[in-house]
Amino acid sequence: MSGFFDALLHHSFLQNALFAGILASIVCGVMGTFVVIKRITFISGGIAHAVLGGVGIAYFLNIEPLIGAFAFAILAAIIIGLVKLKAGQQEDTVISALWAIGMALGVIFMYLTPGYSVDLLTYLFGNILMVTKSDLLILVILNVTILSVVFVLYRQFISISFDEEYSRLRGLNVNALYIFLLILIALTIVVLIQIVGLILVIALLTLPAAIAGLFTRTPASMMVLAVILGMLFTGGGMILSYEPNLPVGASIIILSGVVYLVALNLKKMISKK
C-alpha cells in the first residue's frame, strides 16, 4: 500500500487518475441516486451501451471520440425518454434493441477503422490511469454543469421520481423534466466510462447510491453518502490494484460489490434488532 502512495507523489498520471476518480464520484453519487430511486437502471444501461456507437463512428470519421460519445449518449437519452413516454408496454424491448444496435454500430465502425482493437478494449473496460489533463478539465466542467442543474431542479426531479402522475396533475412538465434527467444521466455515464468502461459503468453508477439508500432518509443525504462512498471505492480500488497490477476498473467494481453485499446484510441485522 505504501508503494501506491510513494508512486502517487512521483507520477502525475496517478495524481490525474485519483483526481478523476474524485470528480467522477461526485456526479456519480448525485445522478446514481436518481437512477436508483427512479429505478431506471435498465434505461441507463441502454444509454451506456448506445454510447459505443457514437465512439465507433467518431473514430471512423477521425473526430474526437468523446464528442461522438456525448452526441450518442444525448441522442440515446432522448430516444429512450420518448419511447418510455409513448410506447408503454413495449418499453423494455425497444431499449434492449437500442442497447444492442448501439454496440453493434460501434463494433462495426471500429472494425472499419484501422488500428481499432486497443481503443475498443479501453472503452469496454476503461482505464483511469490514462486520464489526461484535458480529460480532467472536461470532468470539472461536467461536474459544475450537472451540480448546478440538480441544485435548481432537485425538487422537480424528486417529484417526478416519486409520483409522475401527481406531478403531471400539479402542472409540472413531466416529459421535459424526464428527458432532461436522462440527458444528465447520459452525460454522467460518458464520464464514468472513462473510469471503469461501459461494461462496468452501471455498477459504479448504482452501487454507491444503493448502499447509501440503505442508511439515509432523504435523497439529498443519499447523494452525499453516495459521493463519499464513490470516492472511497475509486480510491480504494486504485490502491488495491496497484501492487498486484490488476485492472483498476474491475478492482473498483469488486470493492463496491463486496461492500454492497456486506451493507445489505448489515442492514438486515440492524432492522432485526
Binding site: 424528486i158 417529484s159 416519486f162 396533475l169 400539479r170 402542472g171 412538465n173 432518509r217 432523504t218
Partner: protein, 242 residues
C-alpha cells in the same frame, strides 16, 4: 346545487373492447359519492378521464364548468398507495409540500407560506408529529393521511380518492371516513371503493360502474345498511342491469 362534474355519453376504449360505455354522470357540489364496481369495471379509468389524464373516445366531460385539464388545479387527487415504491427515501412533510411545486420554482426551497400551510394541514389531519418521518416508516393509515394531506395542500374544491382504505384495517378505515365526512362540509368528495357496506353510512350517492354506470341516491336504496349490504350485489345488479 350546481353540477361540479358532468359526464355526457362518455365512452372510452383502451383497445378494441370499451373500458367505459355511454357513461352519464352528474355530481353536484358537496356530494359525497362512492363509485363501486368490480375490478376491470372502469373505476380508475373514469377517474383518469375526470382528471384529464385520459381523453374520452366519445362524449364530453365538464368539470367545474370547464375542461378536465383546466379544472385540474382545483381537484385534489389521492391515488392508491400501492402505486408507490415502498422504499422511496422521502419525508412526510416533503411529500405534502410537493403539491406546491411548479416547473418554474427555481429557488431550491419552498416559500414560507407553503411551509406554514403544510404544518397547518398536517395538524388538521393529526399527523404533525410524523412530519419528519420517512414515508415507509408509517402505518398504512398514516400513509393514507399523508396522501390526503398532499391533496389538501392546494385547498381543492373536489377531492377524489382511489380506494383510500384498500390496505388498512377496519378501525383505521372508520377514522379515515370520519375525516372525509368532516372535509365534505366544504368539499365535494368522490371515492372509489369495492365495499358498499362501510361506505354507505357516509356517502349520499353511489354510482355502480361496470363498463356502464348507474347512480343511486343513498336514501333511495331501501332497507337498513345491513340489508343493503347483504343483498347489495343482487339488489343493485337488478336495479342497474349491469
Amino acid at each position: 346545487m350546481r353540477n361540479v362534474i358532468t359526464c355526457k355519453d362518455v365512452t372510452f376504449y383502451y383497445d378494441v373492447q370499451p373500458a367505459l360505455q355511454n357513461i352519464n354522470l352528474e355530481i353536484e357540489e358537496q356530494d359525497f359519492m362512492a363509485i363501486l364496481g368490480p375490478n376491470g369495471g372502469g373505476k380508475t379509468t373514469l377517474i383518469k378521464l375526470v382528471l384529464g389524464l385520459l381523453s374520452p373516445s366519445s362524449g364530453t366531460i365538464e368539470v367545474l364548468e370547464t375542461s378536465p385539464f383546466k379544472a385540474r388545479k382545483n381537484i385534489g387527487y389521492v391515488p392508491q398507495y400501492g402505486a408507490f415504491d415502498r422504499n422511496f427515501p422521502i419525508k412526510v412533510k416533503e411529500v405534502v409540500k410537493m403539491s406546491e411545486l411548479k416547473s418554474n420554482s427555481i429557488l431550491p426551497w419552498y416559500p414560507k407560506e407553503v411551509e406554514k400551510r403544510a404544518n397547518q394541514i398536517l395538524e388538521q389531519l393529526q399527523i404533525k408529529h410524523l412530519a419528519d418521518k420517512k414515508l415507509n416508516e408509517l402505518s398504512e393509515g398514516q400513509k393514507q393521511r399523508t396522501l390526503i394531506a398532499r391533496a389538501l395542500m392546494t385547498d381543492p374544491e373536489i377531492l377524489i380518492l382511489d380506494e383510500p382504505t384498500a390496505s388498512i384495517d377496519t378501525n383505521v378505515e372508520k377514522d379515515v371516513y370520519d375525516m372525509l365526512k368532516e372535509l365534505n362540509e366544504t368539499k365535494t368528495i368522490i371515492l372509489i371503493s369495492h365495499d358498499i357496506g362501510f361506505v354507505s353510512t357516509y356517502v349520499n350517492k353511489v354510482t355502480c360502474l361496470n363498463i356502464c354506470s348507474c347512480t343511486h341516491k343513498i336514501d333511495e336504496i331501501e332497507g337498513s345498511i345491513v340489508d343493503v349490504y347483504n343483498r347489495s350485489l343482487k339488489f343493485l345488479h337488478h336495479k342497474c342491469n349491469l
